[in-house]
């Protein structure tokens, strides 16, 4: 990580202006007007800088997490180290682990990811190819769809009928992931690259394969996108996303009549009802309550 530290060290000498942050998350020139601006500012002495971050590790690699958290709470994280810090915040690594232990865990996880990715690639060759799909490749009953005018690249099609139920369910999600990938954070220069879009697609596709209970639900792309941008290594990005999903996956659980996030909305509704009954009544009146009551005139 010397290169990263070197770049960050150089940038830290400048003031915490918008230009400096723009280096990390550049916005496409044609989108400058519409893109939302970050309110984050680097604040000397408050923001967790690369120097302070590295100083928080003792010789064998234990991290003084309390010190780090205090800094983050005061002034956020310098973008140059955000990916590394997030790995700890999301729980990929315990603060008491050593450098050596973390290297081993990282190695093991990268191998595990490549095994899963190979399983996926075996079913759908376009996985890991730097390309991705936005139109369905199989029917509900597992028959390959071949006559699509937009999927004319080699290796995109599925050649044989698929009978395994898990495989069918997973393959039916792939074009949906693609449709959302092309619409994810597209004001950023990062996603002008098809390779980067495919990286997001691969991570989401492999996750959907591994966590088949949840699969893929629209909205997961927005959670995954920062990991894919911040972590250069795709497997590392996957594991960060996996940790985030450990906390969030129940929100995405869908049944025939409900979706997980409704439980939270219901709690929110109760809170509003207590804190601001007038607002609660208004929301219910315009049909925005969790269980809206409609007046029927038949």
């Amino acid at each position: 990580m010397v290169g990263c530290e070197g770049l960050a060290g150089l940038l830290c000498k400048k003031s915490g202006g918008e230009e400096e942050l723009g280096v990390f998350y550049p916005i496409r020139p044609e989108c400058q007007e519409n893109a939302s601006r970050t309110r984050f500012r680097l604040r000397a002495g408050k923001t967790l800088s690369p120097r302070k971050w590295h100083a928080a590790f003792c010789e064998d690699g234990h991290l003084d997490i309390a010190k780090v958290l205090t800094r983050i709470q005061r002034g956020g994280i310098h973008p140059a180290i955000k990916g590394l810090v997030w790995e700890f915040l999301l729980g990929c690594y315990g603060p008491n682990s050593t450098f050596e232990e973390r290297n081993q865990i990282r190695q093991r996880r990268r191998e595990q990811y490549s095994i899963w990715k190979a399983e996926c690639k075996n079913l759908v060759p376009v996985i890991g190819s730097g390309k991705f799909i936005t139109t369905p490749i199989i029917t509900d009953d597992g028959q390959p769809i071949t006559d699509s005018s937009t999927n004319n690249d080699q290796g995109v099609h599925v050649n044989n009928a698929v009978s395994d139920k898990k495989a069918i369910q997973w393959m039916l999600l792939l074009h949906q992931i693609g449709l959302d990938v092309v619409r994810t954070d597209r004001t950023l220069v990062f996603y002008e690259s098809e390779t980067n879009q495919a990286k997001l697609w691969d991570v989401l596709a492999v996750y959907a394969w591994v966590d088949s209970d949840i699969g893929y639900v629209q909205g997961m792309n927005d959670i995954c996108s920062p990991m894919v941008i911040l972590l250069e290594n795709e497997a590392d990005a996957f594991w960060c996303f996996d940790r985030a999903m450990k906390r969030l996956r129940e929100n995405f659980r869908c049944s025939a009549s409900s979706i997980g996030v409704q439980a939270q909305l219901s709690t929110l509704s109760q809170v509003i009802k207590t804190v601001d009954p007038k607002l609660h009544k208004h929301l219910a009146d315009v049909g925005l309550g969790v269980q809206p009551k409609y007046v029927l005139h038949i």
Binding site: C31, T135, S148, L179, Q218, Y294, V295, I298
Partner: protein, 215 residues
């Protein structure tokens, strides 16, 4: 307290936008309500809505348009939003045949969850992508006729027929509502004016409506 001018209306009509993911539902909504088209738009998560007040058949109508996520998994929550909807705009993408093939699924969805008398309009969007067209106008037209739906092709990007599509469905809803008001004591415009959502009677079964051609 006096109502602001934009809150004065004779009718409130709830209309839902449905159709496969990525066919342009959200941009049809933003084109109609704000005259905007966003090239960088994100996927819709769950449900969103926007309103616009306009003149329909000489009456002031507040159109409340609900926009839903296209992914099938979101059906669990979106089906609840069909309740009280007087109209549905069923959108497909003229460059993606599968989105047209799925129209029948969406119709079934409506027939299972919405009121039997809901006014349905089939919309083929993205006509600006002329070189990529993969669904013929005639095919969609004859499908719409068979199913008793209105039909129109639009381009949210070029603002082609968007106004006309909404005007047409709102007029049709108005005609049904005003007929109801004449024949029944119950759903008078006064009720509607208070912003309550109404459902047109379900006693007439699945009556098919004449097709309204765009050409």
């Amino acid at each position: 307290m006096a109502r602001r001018p934009d809150e004065e209306y004779d009718y409130l009509f709830k209309v839902v936008l449905i159709g496969d993911s990525g066919v342009g539902k959200s941009n049809l909504l933003s084109r109609f309500t704000r005259n905007e088209f966003c090239l960088e738009s994100k996927s819709t998560i769950g449900v969103e809505f926007a309103t616009r007040t306009l003149q329909v058949e000489g009456r002031t109508v507040k159109a409340q348009i609900w926009d839903t996520a296209g992914q099938e998994r979101y059906r669990a929550i979106t089906s609840a939003y069909y309740r009280g909807a007087l109209g549905a705009l069923l959108v497909y993408d003229v460059t993606k045949p599968t989105t047209f093939e799925n129209v029948s699924r969406w119709l079934k969805e409506l027939r299972d969850h919405a009121d039997a008398n809901i006014v349905i309009m089939l919309i083929g969007n993205k006509t600006d992508l002329k070189h990529l067209r993969a669904v013929a106008t005639e095919d969609a037209q004859s499908y719409a006729e068979r199913e008793g739906l209105s039909f129109i092709e639009t381009s949210a990007l070029e603002a082609t027929n968007v106004e006309k599509a909404f005007q047409t469905i709102l007029s049709e809803i108005y005609r049904i509502i005003s007929k109801k008001s004449l024949s029944s004591e119950e759903p008078t415009p006064a009720n509607i004016k208070e912003g309550k959502t109404i459902v047109v009677g379900g006693s007439e079964g699945n009556a098919k409506k004449p097709c309204c051609s765009s050409s």
